[in-house]
Symmetry: C2
Subunit: 152 residues, 2 copies
């Protein structure tokens, strides 16, 4: 089947700028980190109206992560006491396609620059898409998660 699966090429639309220059330890609290997303200036007009949304979804390329062939089962957050689970059951950055997805608060838009809060991406991370966050479509009700997710 692998042979049927297409190879896809994309081009970054912008880059993350913030104070986090190196990958922080697992479990780092990104909630209050303020970042700028500098969007390619040829795409400035495509941001019009985005600031009517309080939150946006950012898809980014975790360029420092391991891609392609990666371990299929891992201990989440590199914590040995957590169960060994499949990679796709975790948010580990080391995945076949290391795409990150964050829901962040949009603080401000100035021309081609978006100031956001809570983006868990280091300085220099390529951004590949930006979407408005739509409650109900992007959120789920009556959710269940395994116990390890909430373990401190």
């Amino acid at each position: 089947m692998a042979d049927e699966l297409p190879v896809i090429t994309l081009k970054a639309i912008g880059v993350v700028r913030n104070e986090i220059k190196q990958k922080p330890p697992a479990g780092y609290e990104w909630e209050k980190v303020v970042s700028e997303i500098v969007v390619d200036s040829s795409l400035t007009e495509a941001l019009d109206g985005l600031d009517e949304f309080s939150h946006i979804i950012v898809l980014y390329w975790m360029h420092r992560a391991t891609s392609g062939k990666v371990p299929l089962k891992i201990h989440p957050r590199r914590r040995q006491e957590l169960p060994l689970v499949g990679l796709f059951a975790t948010r580990s950055p080391n995945r076949p396609n290391p795409i990150g997805k964050a829901t962040v608060r949009l603080l401000q838009r100035q021309t081609n620059i978006l100031k956001v809060e809570g983006l868990d991406a280091i300085d220099g991370t390529p951004v590949i898409d930006i979407k408005p966050y739509i409650p109900g479509y992007d959120s789920a009700a009556n959710t269940a998660v395994p116990q390890w997710i909430t373990s401190q």
Copy 2:
């Protein structure tokens, strides 16, 4: 700046199978559509534990959409009475990188096949990542959206 932005190559990890063979009209109600995501069998083990989550996030490549050079401002859902807004303020599939992001209910996992409900992707769509949906991280509180989002 465009020259600094990297070109990124990724490989699909699976494919969507469902009854929707052609792109349906804008506004189609996908909520009850049941799909199978057939994951590359070499990645089967990476799905272990995913079925402890009620919902998953699917990133997919909208292979029938227009990519690269696209109109920067559009009327959402192709409805002329809605305001002309920037592309990134919409969920239009025609984007520089036509990546779709859906939050769906996971009904069942059988080896390398995930049965899901509500995935708004047509039959044959390449899947590029699968993540567990984590309430609080993937959802946002105190959200605001423009009026056109909720207009029928």
